[in-house]
C-alpha cells in the first residue's frame, strides 16, 4: 500500500484563490509562503494582533493568543489571529486587522504643557 500523505487543507481569503496549507502550519505562514498578501505579518506569536481575521467557514485548532486582541466573545464568533490557527478543514477567512482601540487616530497627540508654563 502506498503511504497516504496527510491532507493539505486550503485557505481562501474572501473569494480569492485557495492556498495550500501543509499540516501543522498556521494560516498566516501558509498564506505568506504562498505569496498571498492581505493578512499583515507582525509578531507571528499570538501577541500583537495585526493578523486578526474572521473565519467564515471551516474548522481549525487554536493556539495561545492575546485576550486583549481577541477577547473571548470575539473568539466565540470565529475571530482569531491567523498566526495562531491551523486548519482542520478547508477555511475561508476575512481580513480584519488589529482590533480598534478606544484611543484611535493616526496622528500622535501632542501635549505641550503650555498651560503649566503660562501659570508659572
Amino acid at each position: 500500500m502506498p503511504e497516504v500523505s496527510p491532507r493539505r487543507w486550503t485557505v481562501q481569503i474572501d473569494d480569492g484563490p485557495p492556498t495550500p496549507c501543509p499540516p501543522g502550519t498556521s494560516v498566516l505562514r501558509a498564506l505568506a509562503a504562498g505569496g498571498r498578501r492581505g493578512v499583515p505579518i507582525g509578531c507571528r506569536s499570538g501577541g500583537c494582533g495585526v493578523c486578526r481575521v474572521r473565519v467564515e467557514s471551516g474548522h481549525y485548532e487554536r493556539g495561545p493568543m492575546s485576550a486583549d486582541e481577541v477577547p473571548p466573545a470575539d473568539a466565540a464568533v470565529g475571530i482569531a489571529l491567523a498566526c495562531r490557527i491551523n486548519p482542520l478543514s478547508d477555511l475561508r477567512i476575512t481580513v480584519l486587522g488589529r482590533r480598534p482601540r478606544s484611543t484611535p487616530g493616526a496622528l500622535p497627540p501632542v501635549k505641550t504643557h503650555a498651560c503649566e508654563e503660562i501659570r508659572s
Binding site: 506569536s45 495561545p64 500622535p108 505641550t112
Partner: protein, 310 residues
C-alpha cells in the same frame, strides 16, 4: 559624573501567554539563567554577567506586554531623593514594602506619563556572575554562557503618548540625559527619545504612540558582532520569528537583531554603539531620514517595526 544615582534599567517584568514556551525561549535560547520560580509560574531570570538575582520577570497572563520596568538606584538616600523630585513634578508615588518583590528591598512605584508602571529600588539580593570576587578569573564555569550569550539586560523601548511628560521624569527627576532623538521633519515634535544615565548610548528609550503603556522591546547585550551573528544562526535553527537583522542602527550605532518571544513580545540582541559622556552633544535624526536612523545598512524600516507592540 558619568554614572548617575539612578543606575540603570535593572528589571523588566513581562507578561507571557505560555510560561513553558517562554522559559524555553528566555532560558535555553536567549541564554538567561533562571533564579526563582513562584507557585503561579512567575519565573525570574538574570543574564550571566549581572550580579543581581534577577533582571527579567515572566508572569503567565492572558495578554502579553509590560507589567513594569524597574530602575535600580545607588542607595536608599537616592531612592528618597528621586521620590521627592517625582512628587515635586506632581507624579504620585506609592511605597512598596521590602519583599513585595522577592529578595528585594523597599521600592517606590509610579506611573510614567507614557502610561507605564515603573519601580525604583536600591536593594536586591546579589548572587554574582559565577566568578569569585577574589581572583575571579575571566570566565564563569563552562556552560554558564549559553544560547545567544546575553550578558545583561541592556535597555528597553516603550511606547506612549506623553513623551514631554516623560522628559521631566528622566531629565529632572532621574538626572539622565538625552543622547539622541528622532524628530518629525515637519513639526519638529519628538518621535523617539533616547535617554542615558550612564556611559551607554541609551538605558531606556520612548517612542510616541497614540496608545499608552505599550511595550516595543527589551534588549539584551551581547559581547560582539560575531555573537550577534551567532544569535542570528540560533534564531534560524529554532525558527524564532525574526523581524530585522542582523544589521546596524544609525541611532546608537548598535549592531542588532529584532525577534519575538513566543507571546509576541519583541526582543533585541544588541552590541557596539559609542561610549557616552555627559558632555557629548545630543544627536538628532529627522523622520525624513528614518531609514538610516533605524537600520543604517539597507535603510528600510519594516512596517511592523512601527506598528507592532504588546
Amino acid at each position: 559624573m558619568s554614572i548617575n544615582g539612578v543606575l540603570r534599567t535593572g528589571e523588566v517584568a513581562i507578561r507571557v501567554l505560555d510560561i513553558d514556551a517562554a522559559r524555553t525561549h528566555y532560558g535555553e535560547r536567549v541564554g538567561l539563567i533562571e533564579t526563582l520560580r513562584e507557585a503561579d509560574g512567575t519565573t525570574y531570570y538574570k543574564a550571566w554577567d549581572e550580579y543581581d538575582l534577577y533582571s527579567v520577570i515572566l508572569r503567565p497572563a492572558d495578554s502579553p506586554g509590560l507589567d513594569h520596568v524597574g530602575f535600580k538606584v545607588l542607595d536608599d538616600a537616592t531612592l528618597d531623593d528621586v521620590v521627592a523630585k517625582l512628587e515635586g513634578l506632581g507624579i504620585a508615588t506609592t511605597a512598596l514594602a521590602a519583599d513585595t518583590l522577592p529578595k528585594s528591598g523597599r521600592r517606590a512605584q509610579f506611573t510614567l506619563p507614557s502610561g507605564h508602571t515603573a519601580h525604583l529600588f536600591a536593594e536586591k539580593e546579589q548572587c554574582g556572575n559565577g566568578m569569585p570576587l577574589r581572583n575571579p578569573g575571566t570566565i564563569p564555569p563552562p556552560g554558564t554562557i549559553r544560547g545567544m550569550r546575553a550578558t545583561r539586560l541592556d535597555h528597553c523601548l516603550l511606547g506612549g503618548a506623553d513623551l514631554e511628560g516623560n522628559a521631566k521624569v528622566f531629565i529632572d527627576a532621574f538626572g539622565w540625559r538625552v543622547t539622541e532623538k528622532v524628530i518629525d521633519s515637519g513639526s519638529g515634535i519628538d518621535i523617539v527619545v533616547f535617554y542615558s544615565g550612564s556611559n551607554k548610548p541609551h538605558d531606556v528609550a520612548f517612542v510616541r504612540n497614540p496608545e499608552q503603556g505599550r511595550f516595543h522591546h527589551a534588549s539584551f547585550f551581547l559581547n560582539s558582532v560575531e555573537d550577534i551573528y551567532h544569535a542570528g544562526d540560533l534564531i534560524g535553527y529554532y525558527d524564532i520569528p525574526v523581524e530585522v537583522g542582523p544589521t546596524r542602527h544609525g541611532a546608537t550605532r548598535g549592531a542588532t537583531i529584532y525577534f519575538f518571544d513566543p507571546s509576541g513580545n519583541r526582543n533585541e540582541v544588541f552590541t557596539d554603539g559609542y561610549i557616552y559622556y555627559p558632555d557629548r552633544p545630543m544627536l538628532v535624526w529627522d523622520t525624513d531620514h528614518l531609514g538610516e536612523a533605524a537600520f543604517a545598512q539597507d535603510r528600510q524600516v519594516p512596517e511592523s517595526f512601527l506598528t507592532v507592540t504588546t
